[in-house]
Subunit: 245 residues, 2 copies
């Protein structure tokens, strides 16, 4: 009946070119129906999404804003390059819409985990494709059919504290719809569509821990249908439907 | 090592005056350190937070807007009465800031689960106090020290699909701070503060299900410190710190 959240411990520090699926398959005995949640940071590292700041030439816009807020202009330049639109630029805060349509601080560019002061880690180029590759790799390595979520940690309006959300998915749909269903009294449910992908990412964070070097967790026992075509696209709200962009 | 998500099954339909803590204690053997996540709807029902629409006199403002969007003016009046500010009013959508400081659609007023067409369920008056009462009741009934979260299902900007968040808490702090901690390379973590309360609410939703009549779930095995004074107040962002209000 219940669901288990299982941290995947013992993974080494990830480097460009590492075969994440093989490493995860070795670290834990997976089962059919497991949902493997992988922190985007190690996906980026395995995919070599690491930028050497020495190679970055900041634009005058990046230089100007960086100097005003005591930021590294090269990092600001990377943040801008990773974005397709600035959603808010207020004081030292830069909320952007990434090329994937994700709205988050600094385009998800991560200075903290690059392993060196002159490098930054950027989000995977196509997190759905990353999830698909890891899923295929896990199937090859274990023979088991699992779903994969690539997660990241985002802030949100109105509420303090960040939470983990899904930025890439493979093997299951991210949304569960109740549209058209009615309760025993004949009312439509107030809840029409749940983003289970984000709930799974948040659940997994509880055993991963952002700072504890457990970048992968498995959610076991959550009922879901297999969908080989699923992506995060249905979760990215169209700008014209959005009241806060 | 892992965390378990356990649905609490077999609870009857809740009515005003019901002793939720006693009913939960009877339905599942709790343990010290469990986190009991309770859907706000049944908290509201037990607390009698049900409004008979026959008693509601809509204002001209509510009448006007309701007729423009084919809504029940009495429900609109309740939504306005439950709010302290309208954050967005675009087309038929009404995003409000509730008296608790929560930003959500329609002040959390729920027409679907009232058991009758002429009644609505509104959020608990003080969800932290509700959580505290349930926690105290569970301690009395079981002798165990648990934390309690009152959860609701909210939409959010930028992303389709709703997720469960915490609106009331007792026994543990809602935020886990990493401020000042550094990674093995000496960088501060990009993630500074996680809203574990929301992550726990989301995790619990995975086994509750909004439509399956499982309004309570237990999170077992999540390490946390007991805090008898905790409330959701630190999660409610001050308006002046908020870029989207």
């Amino acid at each position: 009946m219940g669901v288990e959240l299982i941290p995947v411990v013992g993974l080494p520090e990830i480097a460009p070119g590492d075969d994440l699926a093989a490493m995860i398959a070795e670290a834990l005995d997976l089962r059919d129906g497991d949902i493997v949640v992988v922190t985007s940071k190690i996906v980026s590292k395995a995919e070599g999404r690491i930028i050497d700041l020495g190679d970055v030439s900041p634009s005058p816009f990046a230089e100007d804003w960086a100097s005003r807020w005591e930021k590294d202009p090269r990092v600001v330049e990377v943040v801008l390059a990773e974005s397709r639109r600035i959603v808010r630029q207020i004081g030292p805060v830069l909320i952007t819409e990434t090329r994937h349509g994700l709205v988050c601080a600094n385009s998800g560019v991560d200075q903290s985990s690059s392993g060196a002061h002159d490098r930054v880690v950027v989000l995977p180029e196509d997190p759905d494709a990353s999830a698909r590759r890891i899923r295929d790799g896990l199937r090859s390595a274990t023979g088991h059919d699992v779903a994969v979520i690539v997660s990241d940690t985002f802030g949100r309006p109105w509420r303090e504290g960040q939470t983990d959300v899904a930025i890439g998915i493979a093997g299951m749909r991210p949304l569960r719809s109740y549209i058209g269903e009615v309760d025993p009294h004949g009312h439509e449910f107030r809840v029409q569509e749940l983003c289970v992908a984000d709930e799974l990412a948040s659940a997994a964070e509880l055993v991963k821990g952002n700072t504890s070097r457990v970048p992968v967790a498995v959610v076991r026992g959550f009922e879901h249908e297999i969908d080989d075509e699923a992506t995060m696209a249905p979760v990215i709200r169209d700008a014209e439907r959005d009241l806060f962009r």
